[in-house]
Symmetry: C2
DNA sequence: TAGATTGTTAATCGATTAACAATC
DNA sequence: TAGATTGTTAATCGATTAACAATC
């Protein structure tokens, strides 16, 4: 850590950061990258907020949790802020990810281009189905039996796992990921997974996303 | 509407419902259905909260936005509460959905079993790529050129659309969905989409979900 | 300099939790 | 009845917004 740090950095006993702030951070990053592709070099909190539907105050407050990134009178320099947010989110490095479950959804995740661009690489896939395993590899990526998880995870220093198996199998898979030291799990199975403290979990349930949509369509204007 | 309504129902000038409440509603529903499959007929707010990591007070408060569903001393009857929540979310009916973009991700969405079980049916898929269109159908579902959206959408009374196209194409697709009267959009493209008031939007960005995970892994314990 | 915009404080707003009378 | 649990009110907690001195 050579360059001076603007703030004690969120690693300390630093006041905890609201989850909502972190999810907006990802949106800021995405928007900044889009702006940069369009040749923008600088952006104000007002403009960034407008593009995403937030107030300028919120943008500044969110960023101020992590340091002083802006220039009064100018705004934020896109390249600097992109670098800063990536560091905050931990995606200034590439993360090797394990995928468990190579059905429909798993295959789509394997082929998804968006991961590489944002610092993630699926380095190994696992399944238990003989039919799937028979192929040996998909898109050039080896597909192992789940029983090989321990060795493969260790060899590739895997810290993140994605679960794309049927609901009833998800908890068992999560337990096996934990057992090999995975620190974060992205779960696509439509069930609640129980994890011990100290392991992070993000759940994505595609049907639930659609339900959120139908609610607001049916109750047009009833949400905050 | 024959049976007596417990409350003025969220359609009125009824105080607006926080988004967070609606997303928990979906989790309650999922958990209740899981419980029911395991033979449970009744559940208390305390137990339901414990399973999902919420307080009992929160569960009761959330449900109380919509009516009186519980029985003091007993709890909630699973079947009744499932029916009630489905009605609230609008998934007591089946929604025909249009899918635009039949690449990797689109194909996975087409094959996803979880939708049908929760009230959604993809009734038509669209693309603009000649190679994709050449097949004519996928999984028995017709794939049309996007230019055919107006007629197909009308014929099938489509009110919801899912966007699974590359980022640069997403806004254009959204505009075309709007033009045919779609009222809600689930966007998987990693870009911000602008919609007019009165159309609902839910965005799912897979890389962002992973970023949320890396943040909490890197800043272990720094989130609320 | 004048104009723009930051970082931050204080005020507002909204959501969560605790507590309890009512009820089965 | 006693025990359990609801629905709801009031208290607490946290997050958002408005305002402004500091700064480029």
């Amino acid at each position: 850590m050579s360059d001076f740090e603007p703030k004690p950095a969120a690693s300390d006993a630093d006041a905890s950061i609201p989850k909502a702030v972190v999810s907006r951070l990802s949106l800021y990053l995405r928007q900044l990258q889009q702006g940069q592709r369009d040749g923008q070099t600088t952006i104000s909190s007002k403009e960034l907020g407008r593009l995403l539907g937030f107030t300028d105050a919120q943008v500044r407050k969110d960023l101020a949790y992590f340091g002083h990134f802006g220039y009064p009178g100018i705004g934020y320099r896109c390249d600097e802020l992109i670098t800063a947010i990536k560091r905050i989110l931990g995606t200034d490095q590439t993360w090797p990810v394990a995928l468990v479950g190579v059905g429909n959804l798993g295959r789509a995740l394997l082929g998804y281009k968006g991961f590489a661009q944002r610092g993630f690489t699926i380095v190994a896939a696992f399944d238990t189905d003989a039919h799937v395993l028979a192929g040996g590899s998909i898109d050039g990526l080896p597909v192992y039996h789940l029983d090989n998880l321990p060795e493969v995870a260790r060899q590739n220093r895997i810290r993140l796992g994605m679960i794309a198996v049927p609901g009833p199998a998800a908890q068992g898979v999560a337990d096996r990921l934990l057992a090999v030291g995975v620190e974060g799990i992205l779960n696509f199975a439509p069930v609640t997974i129980k994890l011990p403290e100290g392991v992070s979990l993000v759940g994505v349930d595609l049907a639930i996303e659609l339900e959120q949509l139908t609610f607001s369509v049916v109750n047009r204007g009833a949400t905050t």
